[in-house]
Symmetry: D2
Subunit: 349 residues, 4 copies
């Protein structure tokens, strides 16, 4: 149950950070979609480790191999199996965590829950898993190609891009390595991450996502509200601590007379504090939401922790880690959003 | 699909605001639980309209009637059917919304999605539905009676209770009508809501929830993380715009060296920025999260809107509405949290 | 999980034989269906106890009351709650089974599984539950009104109606109390049941169901094959021991050259040993299947059994029971088939 | 949805007959199971093509490769990804079915449902998929190693093994190539299959399965009855037309006084017409059921059929096919039964 996402468009995944391969099965992709495999690889490259100086230096090609469900370039409606081989593992970087628990990681909880765990590179808890999601999301994006999904880095630490989403030029997202579409803010963010990295520390941040050209009527009332599914999706990403859409936490400070979105005669609204969703159902306006990422728990500083026998030990991060996950999280956020929307599009068709 | 919540402990609901009754089916409740029906009614009374001067004056007794699954005072393992009759409907209060769409309500999206809707009192979109959730949650609380769940009002508009959750005296929650456990802040909040009500306006706020005595190991990795299910649950409540747990959005500004929770030798942690969950799995520390509610959309001021034929019309709220949903949302937050935890407890048993 | 049936069109039920009411929630019914409530009651009357001399004499009006999801005579897309009150319980008929297990009933297995059970009238194990299914099925039939579903009694004990289904006049099904559309066979069946009843015994039988006017393409390959879902549905009915479709068990004796259905140029087939389904997907030909019912376990003869303390005791059926369930099972088979088909129709729409 | 089987123990599969590989993901396998990989390969070898003169001569090694979820020889609780490469495809054997529909195959229904299909070797409709199920079942068997599951060939055409299951020596199942544990009957069956093969024809048959040492209490009442899940599983196997358990279709001819299983004082029963299940829940007696397989549709005789443009064409089987699927179906029946039981065991734990 825990390794599947979605209902009518469902991704089921497997794989550990230092195992032979990661991969998954996409079930429910409609037949007849001419899949652009290069686009899928491009999406993977956006998430790939080693892509720039501000991310982990693990060098994974992250080449996806499709095993089924595609025939003569088009989907057949059959389940799509895929696999990404792990090639650049360095498992001996991880011998120090075999018997000790990294602070604020999942080592302790996995050990208590499962008893036996693959500790190498974090095993199943590693964000390497999210490469599978990017594959699922890249397929989903091609199923609902009319809908435009753009995520970007909106803050790193206390450096915020202050622009409202309506003023953002999405074509600039990929123009810098931090994926912030405002050049000046981007430079500050990059400098901040480099500084943090030098300190052997890590830093949190937020990703904002905007979804445009959504038809009216997506989402199910009561328990499968569109924003509830988006929220659950985002909260599934490693290191996420919060989700808000539309006016979000700011909306909780407002009055109804300020917050209500007044209709235009075509059904659109003059403002969009609702965030494109009313009563759990899309109203045709832009959907936007923000996701909070905590700082990566693995730091290159010495920290006190405990081992399996409850002894106090000192631990210092080894391996190759991100000083800030946010730049690489951008395509992951988009991928999950694409899968959620595809699921609802298929339900509504 | 959209009217069910949970997997092993599953609530399925029905009912419109002004229909004959609301109710539901609780599936998966273990056999042999001696249910305290008075406690369930007490929980309903906490959510009930008309309970104080700062909530809607609709007078519903909200008496729950159990129809199955309980025999000689104990659950049998069979599904539990229940029903709450609607007795205080005033449907003619709603004739004005028959053909017009209230701003920032779900009238427009439901009409576009379904074509035919029960507009009386908002029909299925009404938060009256949440009475069903309180019943499900009250049963759940009795299934997992060792776990303590306390929610409270942590802000109304810009009035915040600044205490960290560790300093909160949960026994004070019910000591005032706004359900803020700090008396001084509570008075300010009540005054603010009364003032807003006089203006014919509404105001948003936040609810904080603390869950104590949780065993280690609840939650499923990858897609059914404990906090992801909690988040989805909370985002299902009417008017919710955001969810954060542990350090939340503040965590996104922090450094790893500040954010990491250092272990004590017994596996507990010195700090708890993780919010009791690591890698999606409970670590035995307190779980805490915060939920943002927008201001109620129905205001007693005249607003411009449109009707079904796209004519511009003026509309002013009628019926009986809450100036602030937060006080009544407190038991709803607890109820959903209880159902999520029960689901995971059953999975782990 | 166990009290829900279906995916996109889902029925969730509750209720014990001698509780206050039985009922359920229909989730996923499309909006805008003008429901004929009389037709639903007519279906219930076909299943109703006390309808003729060859069925149980419990007198239940089985009046269904709808509580939600219908507005101005049409469905709204919201979940449909309904309830059927139990009015003719005679629970003291069942004191003899409070502590003893009826042979070939579920008393023993429920007691071992749940520890605490409502023994009155069999509690949740009673086929009274199937009244809920008839309500769900009657709604489903109206959703997919172009598809024609006809079930009938095809055998009682060793009395078989030998006609191939193609020669059956479905308009004759309701012309006799045993629901066999061949008058001569029907008379024999009725006589057989009366004779068995006089002996204080019971007898098994089979129901055949024919589904016509099914579009090509219903059913999902691999694990949700159309016939697999039909089979699971039928095997959920109390007392069912077997399911076969198309050539069924006879097909297992045949050669490929005899069994293959040769195509006509319009895609129809000259024969229909496939039973309207190929590879789990409807091919547009008639679907037909047969369901085997064992004899009712409660007999009016003295039988040896055991009590909770493992003492041997003698037991004789009390209460009001069917000498043969098959006539009343006919509408139940149709109801479940209707729900399965509706589910796939919604998935395919 | 259609490519997943099970709830708590869930297999999700992919793969076409002539694609690069088939495989799947096993989700929900408990942690700490020391998996015997040789045993899994042995199970695959029982299903493998080319294993004897009476099965298809396609030579597939069917070597399974595990990609995740196993660490140091034991499961970790993470999802188990696996893959079986296709190495012996001869796709040009299938060019004749590119545009024509084989009678009583799924070519027509897939084409109408999906529009675009991988016709090579039947693509996704091929029983090659069942190799994935054998992997899932072999893992499941190791999770519930106390439960003994034995299936065998009980009929081929009109040759039946007449012994009651209680008299069968399961250790003889693998002693002959038709997997009938009665040597004399086995010889007749083999001769019959060889004769049929010479005729270029195919023949049906039945598999019986016996499950021993099942704890009391498996199965969920109402819609997830143990036998309903077993039935659905078996009806998912290619070519299956019927399922019966316990007394099955014979039970429909019996009287209650004959059919009831009288209790011994230890809760076991003197007879077992119930087939080990009462009210959908295991009662601790042996579970047994029978599955009917139609003759394979591909025959080496010329048959009339139609092409995509509705022209009548002649077609004769090419490729390598089974004259009778039953011997190879034996491990598949066991595998599915093992997965169903594992699912319920995990639910009950």
């Amino acid at each position: 149950m825990s390794n599947s996402f979605g209902n009518l468009f469902r991704l089921t995944t497997f794989g550990e950070s230092h195992g032979e391969a990661i991969g998954g099965v996409i079930d429910g992709c409609p037949a007849g979609v001419a899949l652009d495999l290069n686009m899928i690889q491009t999406e993977l490259n956006r998430r790939k480790p080693g892509q720039s100086k501000i991310v982990t230096q693990r060098k994974e090609p992250d080449t996806v191999q499709f095993l089924s469900g595609i025939f003569e370039g088009k989907t057949t409606g059959a389940s799509i199996g895929f696999m990404i081989k792990n090639v650049h593992q360095r498992s001996n970087d991880y011998s120090h965590i075999k018997d000790s628990y990294r602070p604020s990681h999942a080592d302790y909880t996995y050990d208590k829950k499962y008893g036996h765990r693959d500790y190498r590179g974090g095993g199943r808890t590693s964000a390497r898993e999210t490469a599978n999601w990017v594959v699922g999301g890249a397929v989903a994006k091609q199923v609902i190609s009319d809908i435009k999904i753009n995520a970007f880095t909106s803050s790193v630490g206390d450096i915020f891009m202050e622009k409202p989403y309506q003023d953002v030029d999405f074509s600039k997202i990929e123009s810098n390595i931090v994926r912030c579409p405002d050049e000046i803010t981007a430079k500050k963010m990059i400098a901040r991450i480099e500084e943090i990295k030098k300190q052997g520390d890590t830093i949190g941040g937020t990703v904002t996502c905007v979804i445009q050209n959504v038809p009216v009527g997506l989402g199910e009332p009561i328990f499968d509200k569109l924003h509830a599914q988006l929220g659950k999706a985002m909260l599934s990403i490693n290191a996420v601590k919060g989700f808000e859409y539309g006016s979000g936490f700011c909306g909780a400070k407002m009055k109804g007379s300020e917050h209500n979105d007044i209709f235009n005669t075509d059904g659109s609204t003059k403002t969009n504090l609702s965030g494109g969703i009313q009563g759990g159902i899309s109203n045709g306006m832009d959907i936007y939401f923000r996701v909070a990422f905590k700082p990566v728990a693995t730091i290159m500083q010495s920290q006190q922790t405990i081992d399996k026998e409850s002894n106090i030990v000192q631990m210092k991060g080894k391996g190759r880690h991100d000083p800030c996950v946010v730049p690489r999280a951008v395509p992951i956020v988009e991928a999950l959003a694409a899968m959620v929307l595809t699921d609802f599009m298929l339900l509504n068709k």
